[in-house]
Amino acid sequence: MTIEKPKMDEGLRNELQKQGVFTTTLEGIYNWGRQNSVWPLQFGLACCAIEMIAASMARYDLARFGAEVFRPSPRQADLMIVAGTVTKKMAPQVVRLYNQMPEPKYVIAMGACAISGGPFKQGYNVLKGIDRYIPVDVHIPGCPPRPEALLHAFMTLQKKIENQPLTGANRPRHLQADAPSEFPVPKFGVHDLEPPSNPTVWQSPKMVRA
């Protein structure tokens, strides 16, 4: 069920703007502030991290989107860019870093390895996508994705933040008291990570026969 929000008359808004009075909603200005100062975690796993660095350098200039402040500590970061292959040895650390980030937090899975295991999918030590353990907001395909692709993913995330309602059933996770902000860290089992995936975040795709 969607609640119809009270809309301001556009003509009145224009008239007020001419007088130097700007009107907005609390939700609008709150999300506008959040979307333009997303601080990513300085966290590179493999090849894609180099393209992530390239995106933050002068030519592609991630600073245009308010995201040049790469924080080395997860406690100061809003966005985790999972850039590279997540191996089974590294997966618990990635989940733990995600748990250490404060809400609201977002995840971009960058590159084929982070979204599915990519070219190394058949490897015995490679996790087949980080979305098995943590919720991912934006997936970027590519091996590695170009810096422009990362910028596009970033703009997609900004749109998502912009459109998040602060009230109602669709409000984001950090405004829901009972929603989890930490996810269980997998452990090393006899043959594989235990559990192999987090069922509240990821279910294996159902095959649909035509």
């Binding site: 966290f43 493999a46 393209e51 191996t87 070219p119 058949q122 015995y124 490679v126």
Partner: protein
Amino acid sequence: MLPKDAGDGESLEVAMGPHHPSTHGVFRMDVVLDGERVVKLKPVFGYLHRNHEKIAEGTTYLAAMPYTDRLDYFCSLTNNWAYALAVEKLAGLQVPERAEYIRVITAELTRLQNHACLIGFLAQDMGASGTPLMYAFREREKILDLFEALSGARMMCNYMRFGGCRCDLPDGWLTQAQTVVAEFPRFIDEFENFLTGNEILMSRTQGIGRMSRELAINAGITGPLLRAAGVDYDLRKVDKYGIYDRFQFRVPLGDHGDTFDRYMIRILEMRESVKILEQALPKIPAGPIVDPKTKLRGFRPKAGEAYGRIEAPKGELGFYLISDGGPNPYRYRVRPPSLINLTVLEDICLGQMIADVVVILGSVDIVLGEVDR
């Protein structure tokens, strides 16, 4: 931080990594400290073990080529070359002259961007956050544009083939490359102007992390690290693989084996690479780019073994292949220079300050894709 021998308050065990901004990837150093001095250091690898060798043993020879791109992801073209060299030895293929020139040109361009970025990262490890790295990446982008025009990809070029290269140079590529190479010495001068005489850089690097000649030889160190320790060993001179015997260039050598020498060797090697490129670019002949005997489909080299090695920007990169006559290698082994250069990390870090460990690791030049494979 985990206090060791809790109570005496003297030695402290610190786990640096796997998520740490100075470890250049997912790498952990378990450091035992006495005050700020390092008493013990244990490198822990394997956070990026991607089963490269196992996957390559299960696929055809050609299908392993894109995986070599992802070994040392800064230098995909030199990785391609080392692997192609091993397979060419195994199958007895001859590389046409034009392809040899293209290989030399691309390999030296790779060396230029690798060393430039390494120095940028090294300066960042010393606290010059961002600016030197931005200069280095500005130059790297120019070289990546050349790679993209050549192979279609910025980083993962997958360009070389057994007995040659995948495709010919696009129109105007050589003039564009000549412009980039002609402008490059100006960048090195600018970089040196900012860094080499810098007091902070000198005091953070001179006499820090000294590696003796004997240690370097005994541990099997190769590449700029070995030459910084004063050993004259460069595979481009020793093996003369490809057509490196046709070019005039010198092998810079260090005197003290400290971090400053390792920094300086990279600067001098960039200057020598520019010299090689200036000689190679005008002389490139016309002709085919791939050996007509080579077969892309149904490629089955006869049973035997081969070891191909080149002087990659980080050291001796070798591929050891055993063929049993089948379509895929029976054994496929990579000799990664980064991993072997890392084995002396404890020896050169002992007795240093913890802040210098970061700089020493930066000067070793590791890429975790190659260390863990």
